[in-house]
Every structure is written in structure tokens, then in C-alpha cells.
């Protein structure tokens, strides 16, 4: 083919391709309404009430301010409710930066995963959103509080969830993890709960404790201490402060800073009956001694360690008892551990696991090792 013909053919192909494809998916960034968080409630029998928090950016003279704008919508499906928001907002909602999904108790009592289907199905919505349960009457009330530290409440919640390891009073569950857990055999998992508190005259958001979800439905709540114990047993504890009241029979409170933990759940067979042995190895620092008592010397440390071990053991045993007697649900992963290490036994007891779990014998062994005491090796001395 002649060179000129070649060239014109290629040019024609390129031009046609450009027109035919029409650069789909080209979106100007300022035409997007960026969604940062969503709260899902029930509205009446069958409808879903969706409240989203979008970020509205204003730029005046080199200063850009972010303002949260809330939009509500009702629909029989989540997707339908969201779409109709375009009529209100004008701009197209952009979900890729949404960070938080807050679900109301009502929905949780009936079944969570139904409203989460859209989020996991849609390509734009990220599956690493944090899932939280609202302790207020509805989920949208959470958006009533004005965020203190960030302009957008969802970003503040996002920061709090990221800092979970340092606090360890609530679990941090991302959406994909949550959905994975629900899909597993036992179908029980925990998600953090969020509520509003009054603080210096202002309404603030407070994330604390966990909610137990069994088979897609809300089963109950766990307080802060129980949540920490739960994280301990599940080997998810990575940090946090463990306060000991009246350590070693003194009047002094001591704070231990946890920085490493390894929990092993070992099922064993004793006379053909499975028992669970929980081994906890934690490395801590002495963070604070609220008095003049020598807990740092060898003798003092061992006293402190023993006291801490006893307290932790009690906390965990309390939790296990609650799980067995009150909630009658294995959300601690005992079944999983039996399945992993003794699959034959598991197969035979699988069907009656719930009943077996309620009475299963557990033994908890805690081993605290105090690794350091920050930069001072003596408590504050008070002169005579």
C-alpha cells in the first residue's frame, strides 16, 4: 500500500476511535459530590432511610474550607434511595472516598447484610469502609454532632478507627472483614458501637464497646472491659493501657502499657471431651505508678506481674462466662480453633457445637512480662 494511503488510514482509525469511545468515565473533579459517610436507618416497615454526609468545598482567596452537607432520602432499596439524591444535590455522588457506614439498631435487629449488599456490590464503593452500630435511637442522629477535630465527622470517625490499636476498647472492623465473618460457618462477629455524649456543653461522638452480631442479627452489647478482653482472646490486642486498681494490695493504681501480645487458643481432648486452653503472653511497660511504691525492682515487678495476671485472668474468665451463659454464642473463635487443630473431633461435634460451647471447660493462663518502665526506673519520690 502506498505510504500516503497507509498514513491516512491510520489517521482515520484514530479519529474514528476517538469519536466512538467518547472518553467514557471522564468526570471533572469539581462536578463530583464526595460522599464521606452514610447512616442507614429503617423508615417504617419496608423502607430504608439513608442519610449521607457529603463534603462541600469552598475556595475563597486561597483558603479552602470543607463543610459537611447532609442529604436524606427514602427508598425501598438502598440504591434507589441514593439515586434519588441527585434530584436534591444536583451533583453526582462519588462514593470512592466514603469512609464510614453507621447502621441503626433497628436494622441490626432484623438483619444487617441486607442493606450492605449495595455497598459490597457497587464498584465505586470501597470495601474498606468502617462499619459501626449506632447506640442512639437512630443512626442519623450521629450526624447531628458537630465534629471537633476535623471539619467532616466521617473523617474524624475514620481517624478514631485507625487509632484503635492504641486504645483497644472497641474493635475496628472493615466492611469486607465484616462480610467475610458473617459468611463463615458460625456467622457471628462483633462490630464497634458509636454513641453521642455530652462533653462541656457540646454533643460529641464516642466510639466504645462492641455489638455482637449472630447470624446477621444483633445479639447484644459488650462493655469496654469486655471488649478489651475479647480482643485479647482473639489475639487482636495490639496496644492499650491496662489499669490495675490497688496493685498488690497497696492503695496505688498502676497503669500498664501493652505493646505486644500473643494469644494461643489450644483445644485439647481430656477423656474424649474437648477443653480449651488459652495461653496469653503479653509484653507490657509500666506506664504509670500513682504513688511511691517500688514496683520496678525485681521483687516489686514480680508482685505486680502476679497481680496483673490475676486480674486479666479474671476479666477473661468473666467474658467467657458471659459468652457461654448470657449470649450463648461463640464469638471468640473457640470453634474455629477446634476445627483447625482437631478437624476429626470438629466434624463429630459440629452439629451440637452451640450446646457444647455453653458448658465447655476453659483454662486461662496469663503470662505478663514487664519489659521496661519508660525512662525512669524509680517512682516519684516525695521528700519527708
Amino acid at each position: 500500500m502506498k505510504k500516503s494511503r497507509q498514513v491516512s488510514l491510520i489517521a482515520l482509525m484514530i479519529i474514528c476511535t476517538c469519536f466512538l469511545t467518547g472518553c467514557w468515565n471522564y468526570r471533572e473533579i469539581e462536578q463530583l459530590a464526595i460522599v464521606s459517610g452514610v447512616a442507614i436507618d429503617k423508615n417504617g416497615e419496608d423502607k430504608v432511610l439513608v442519610t449521607i454526609e457529603t463534603v462541600s468545598v469552598q475556595q475563597d482567596q486561597k483558603q479552602s474550607t470543607l463543610k459537611p452537607v447532609y442529604i436524606q432520602s427514602v427508598g425501598i432499596t438502598f440504591f434507589g434511595a441514593i439515586r434519588s439524591m441527585i434530584a436534591v444535590e444536583g451533583k453526582r455522588l462519588y462514593w470512592s472516598h466514603a469512609k464510614v457506614a453507621i447502621i441503626s439498631e433497628e436494622i441490626a435487629k432484623e438483619g444487617i447484610s441486607s442493606v450492605l449488599d449495595f455497598i459490597s456490590r457497587d464498584a465505586e464503593v470501597r470495601e474498606d469502609m468502617w462499619v459501626l452500630l449506632s447506640r442512639e435511637k437512630s443512626a442519623r442522629e450521629i450526624f447531628n454532632s458537630k465534629p471537633e477535630f476535623e471539619s467532616i465527622l466521617s473523617f474524624q470517625i475514620d481517624n478514631t478507627m485507625r487509632a484503635q490499636e492504641s486504645v483497644s476498647r472497641y474493635p475496628a472492623v472493615e466492611l469486607y472483614e465484616f462480610l467475610d465473618n458473617i459468611g463463615s460457618k458460625e456467622a457471628s462477629t462483633t462490630i464497634p458501637t458509636i454513641k453521642l455524649i455530652e462533653n462541656r456543653g457540646k454533643t460529641e461522638v464516642y466510639i466504645t464497646g462492641a455489638a455482637i452480631i449472630k447470624k446477621n442479627k444483633l445479639l447484644g452489647y459488650l462493655g469496654e472491659t469486655d471488649t478489651r478482653s475479647m480482643l485479647w482472646v482473639q489475639n487482636k490486642l495490639k496496644g492499650g493501657i491496662y489499669p490495675i486498681k490497688d496493685a498488690a494490695d497497696t492503695q496505688i493504681n498502676v497503669a500498664l502499657e501493652i505493646f505486644k501480645n500473643k494469644t494461643r487458643i489450644k483445644p485439647e481432648l481430656r477423656d474424649g471431651v474437648p477443653i480449651i486452653k488459652i495461653n496469653i503472653l503479653t509484653d507490657v511497660n509500666i506506664g504509670e505508678i500513682m504513688g511511691y511504691e517500688d514496683f520496678i525492682s525485681e521483687k516489686g515487678r514480680s508482685l505486680l506481674e502476679k497481680d496483673a495476671e490475676a486480674q486479666i485472668k479474671k476479666d477473661i474468665e468473666d467474658l467467657i462466662e458471659k459468652a457461654q451463659k448470657e449470649y450463648k454464642t461463640d464469638f471468640l473463635g473457640f470453634g474455629e480453633s477446634i476445627k483447625r487443630s482437631m478437624p476429626n473431633v470438629w466434624r463429630s461435634i459440629e452439629k451440637e457445637w452451640n450446646e457444647i460451647f455453653m458448658d465447655i471447660e476453659t483454662s486461662v493462663e496469663v503470662d505478663i512480662s514487664i519489659k521496661g518502665s519508660a525512662i525512669k526506673s524509680k517512682p516519684i519520690k516525695v521528700g519527708d
Binding site: C23, I34, Q59, S64, H97, R126
Partner: protein, 485 residues
């Protein structure tokens, strides 16, 4: 055409050819005492050194006595008498005019056909100065100027080897520009030399004004924005390349020497690279490579991410860019093309601006583009940064400036249509295109993907000189080992 025996006829012919050309000067004189042989010296004012004409030509000739000029063949005698280093004897009128136009002085003798031509060329040239286009911190500071003999000397002074060969030719029907082909006979590939000579001989053009003409006329990939023949103003660069087995072409009246074959990786090394410490040299090369990638990719990737893949950016960045773009009249792609265009305008204008106004205009440019346009909400602030970043990094590889403009634009358009997929696609096409190019038979991307350690000594890393034992293969296959021991 032949010279006439009659002096008067010759004068008439010359006057006719150079009608009313006052720069052609005639000096008639008679020699041989009472013999009175009429002679004529013709030369072109401004191209000759008049003092030399006086001392070397006219003086000795005027001293000839009658006895010296009787019954002998005068042109031969005069040739011996003239105290000049270059004397030619010819009867060809066309050749004589050629000599005249080259600054020679021609002597016509009445009664004889043969005439003499003596080299008295002295054209005012620029002094040897530091090359403006290629400044270095470390390295010699002499640069080629417009005189071919001077340029050849600069190279000769560096390579005092008998293997260094120079082949002369004249190219250009009207300009008759002297062009010199230069190579190391024991290193350069014979096939390439033959090919270059063939192409030079095939040039048919009326005038060569700069080596750039030759570059375009003989280069392999005529349509490519990437060059296959390099040019440089520095003699040490040329000498270095000659030692690697490359061939240089020097052109009279042009301070730029051509070197061929030119490979892609030569874009990224300034000659300082070989004089500085090898850590620093390696670092500089990597910087150049990063500069090239940044300057061509930054506008494209910015466009692709902002308009197609907003989910890839961290949320605070999305929010601040979204804030900056509120109320902007132009879509992103138009803004970027506008800012790139403005940058090119500034660049080109700053080359042409007379120095007097230069300062003012640059301040005006910076203020207007930077501040006022953003405040007037014509373009958004991130775009100005993108344009500036792209422009400044393109100067990390100054040789690539011309190719960079085109590559940047094409990749930008591809990204604007297809997002990151377009960018990747265009990048692949570019890479395939580059690897398919050849410069005088040598693959353009030679060594770039080679994994042998020997090859890699001079690509991104510059190995220290004590480790560079071999010359680049394919260029110097005749004589690949540098060291004797």
C-alpha cells in the same frame, strides 16, 4: 573554461562575471625590470590578509630582474618565488574563480595560460569561546567556531593518532560548503563509514548553511522526533565519541559537529559525566532519566488521575484539588494544554527577547501567569504547578527538549481519552517505537535492556574508568578492547 593568454581578455572576463562588485580588487603590476611582463593580482576584499599579499606575493615578484624572466616558463618561476606555503598552478578559469571565492589571491600573467592561486584566506571569525548551548562545570571550555580548519585542529589536538582520518568533500551546489568526515580508522566500523560516505555523496541541494541540513538529509528516521544523529559544540565530546568508534561530521561555517550513530542513552549523559566522580555521574544520569519521565508524564498522569481515577488519590488531595477547581471555566484537559502552550510561548519568547527587555518580561510572565490568572479564576493553581514542573524537569535533559514536547503532548492526549489505560498504551507504543529505530544500522536502544554487566557499565551507571575495559560493541567491534594490558 580556460584562462586566456591575453591579460586584457582575462580582466574583461572577470569584470563581466563580477559586474559592479566592488569587493573584487585588481592589482596590476609589471615584473622583470625592463622586460615588463604584465601581471595581475586579483583578490576579494575582506577575505584576504592584505599584509600577506604584500609581503609574500607582490614584494618578491617585484624584485624579479630582467634576467630572471627571460626565456623561461614564467608561471613556474613565479611559483618558486612566491614566499607562501600554499601555491597552486592551474589554467582552469572556473577553478580559479572558486579559489578567488575562497579567499585566494590569483595571479594572471600576460602571455601565459597558467595562472597561480595563493592561499591568503583570512576571514574574521569568532574567537574560540565557551559553547553557549552546552555549559559544564568541569571540563574544557573551548568550543567549535565557524572555521573548519580551526575545528579540525581542536580535534586533532586531542587525538594525536595517525589512525584519525579526515575525508573532505564539498556539498551544496551554490554554497560549496566544505564538509569533513572524521573517524578513527582502527576503531570505527567500516560498514558505517561506507554508508555515511554514500549518503553524503547522494546529497543534492543548493546550499548547506549549517550542519543541521546535513543532519536531516542523511539521517535514518526522517519523521521521528528523536534524533539518530547527535550534535555538539564541544570538541572534547567529539573526541570522546570518536574514541568509542563513532563518526563525526564537521561542517564549515557551523559550530556544531555531528556525531553518528546516536543512541537513546546518549541523551542522558552530559560530557561532564565522564570527568566527574562516578557516583556523582551515575546520580546525574538517573536524575536525567527521572527528568525525562517526569516532564513527559506529569501532565498526562495528573489528567488521568483527576478526571478518570479519582479513587486513586488520597482524600485530602482530592478535596483540595476539588476546592481549587470550583468555578473554573475550562475542563482539566483544556487547562493543561493551555498551560503547556503558555510555557512553550514563554520559552521561545525568552530566547528571542532582546536582553534589555528580558528582565521585565520574565517578571511580567511569572506574575501574570502565576498570580493573576489563578486569582482571576482562569486557571486553577495545581495546573500552574504541573506546567512549571513539566517545563523545568524537561531542562534536566536539554538535548531531549524537542522530542519531549511532542511526546508530552501525545501522551497527554492519550491519557485524556483513556485515562491510565491510555497512558500505559501510549507508553508501550513509544517504547516499541524507540526499540524499532535504528541509527545507521545500530539499534537505537542498544544496551538499555541488556543484562550483561559489561554492557551496563555505561548506561545508567557510569562505571569508573579503571573498570571500563571495552568499547561499546556494535560500534567498535573492530577494536573492542580499550586497554593494552
Amino acid at each position: 573554461m580556460n584562462v586566456s593568454k591575453d591579460l586584457v581578455e582575462n580582466i574583461a572576463l572577470l569584470k563581466k562575471k563580477f559586474k559592479s562588485d566592488q569587493s573584487l580588487l585588481f592589482r596590476e603590476f609589471s615584473i622583470g625590470g625592463t622586460n615588463n611582463v604584465e601581471c595581475l593580482a586579483v583578490f576579494i576584499d575582506g577575505m584576504v590578509d592584505v599584509a600577506r599579499i604584500n609581503t609574500e606575493i607582490i614584494s618578491p615578484l617585484l624584485e624579479l630582474k630582467k634576467e630572471d624572466t627571460e626565456d623561461i616558463y614564467l608561471p613556474a618561476v613565479l611559483k618558486d618565488k612566491i614566499a607562501s606555503a600554499q601555491v597552486e598552478k592551474t589554467a582552469d578559469f572556473t577553478k580559479l574563480i572558486n579559489y578567488l571565492l575562497n579567499g585566494y589571491t590569483t595571479i594572471f600573467i600576460d602571455g601565459y595560460e597558467d595562472a597561480l592561486a595563493i592561499n591568503t584566506q583570512s576571514i574574521n571569525r569568532r574567537r574560540i569561546s565557551e559553547p553557549v548551548s552546552e555549559k559544564v562545570v568541569r571540563g574544557p571550555r573551548d568550543g567549535f567556531n565557524e572555521s573548519l580548519p580551526n575545528n579540525i585542529t581542536l580535534i586533532r589536538a586531542r587525538i594525536k593518532s595517525e589512525n584519525l582520518k579526515f575525508h573532505f568533500r564539498e556539498i551544496g551546489r551554490e554554497t560549496k560548503t566544505k564538509v569533513c568526515l572524521c573517524y578513527m580508522e582502527n576503531i570505527a566500523d567500516d560498514g558505517i563509514v561506507k554508508e555515511v560516505e554514500k549518503r553524503l555523496d547522494a546529497i543534492d541541494i543548493d546550499g548547506i548553511l549549517d550542519s543541521g541540513y546535513i543532519q536531516e538529509l542523511i539521517s535514518d528516521e526522517g519523521y521521528s522526533p528523536f534524533r539518530t544523529i547527535g550534535h555538539t559544540e564541544r570538541p572534547d565530546v567529539v573526541a570522546g565519541k570518536l574514541l568509542e568508534g563513532r563518526i563525526a561530521i564537521l561542517c564549515d561555517e557551523s559550530p556544531f559537529a555531528l556525531t553518528l550513530p546516536f543512541l537513546f542513552l546518549e541523551y542522558f549523559s552530559a560530557n561532564e559525566n565522564y570527568y566527574n566522580h562516578f557516583y556523582y555521574a551515575t546520580f546525574n544520569r538517573m536524575l536525567s532519566l527521572i527528568g525525562f519521565i517526569l516532564s513527559t508524564s506529569v501532565p498526562a498522569i495528573y489528567t488521568a488521575l483527576i478526571t478518570f481515577h479519582q479513587e486513586m488519590l488520597p482524600t485530602p488531595l482530592i478535596l483540595s484539588i476539588s476546592a481549587a477547581r470550583q468555578g473554573m471555566p475550562l475542563p482539566t484537559i483544556a487547562e493543561i494544554i493551555l498551560i503547556l502552550f503558555v510555557f512553550e510561548v514563554l520559552r521561545e519568547a525568552s530566547i528571542r527577547i532582546p536582553e534589555v527587555v528580558g528582565q521585565t518580561i520574565s517578571i511580567v510572565g511569572a506574575l501574570i501567569i502565576g498570580e493573576a490568572a489563578v486569582e482571576a479564576k482562569l486557571i486553577s493553581a495545581p495546573i500552574v504547578i504541573i506546567g512549571a514542573l513539566s517545563g523545568i524537569t524537561s531542562y534536566l535533559v536539554p538535548k531531549m527538549e524537542q522530542a519531549g514536547i511532542i511526546v508530552r503532548l501525545v501522551i497527554l492526549l492519550a491519557s485524556a481519552f483513556l485515562g491510565l489505560y491510555g497512558y500505559a498504551f501510549c507508553g508501550i507504543v513509544l517504547f516499541i517505537y524507540l526499540t524499532s529505530m535504528r541509527s545507521f544500522g545500530v539499534p537505537y536502544m542498544l544496551f538499555d535492556s541488556s543484562l550483561s554487566a559489561e554492557d551496563q557499565k555505561d548506561v545508567i551507571f557510569r562505571a569508573p574508568w579503571w573498570a571500563m575495559n571495552k568499547r561499546p560493541r556494535l560500534l567498535a567491534s573492530k577494536n573492542i578492547v580499550r586497554k593494552k594490558s
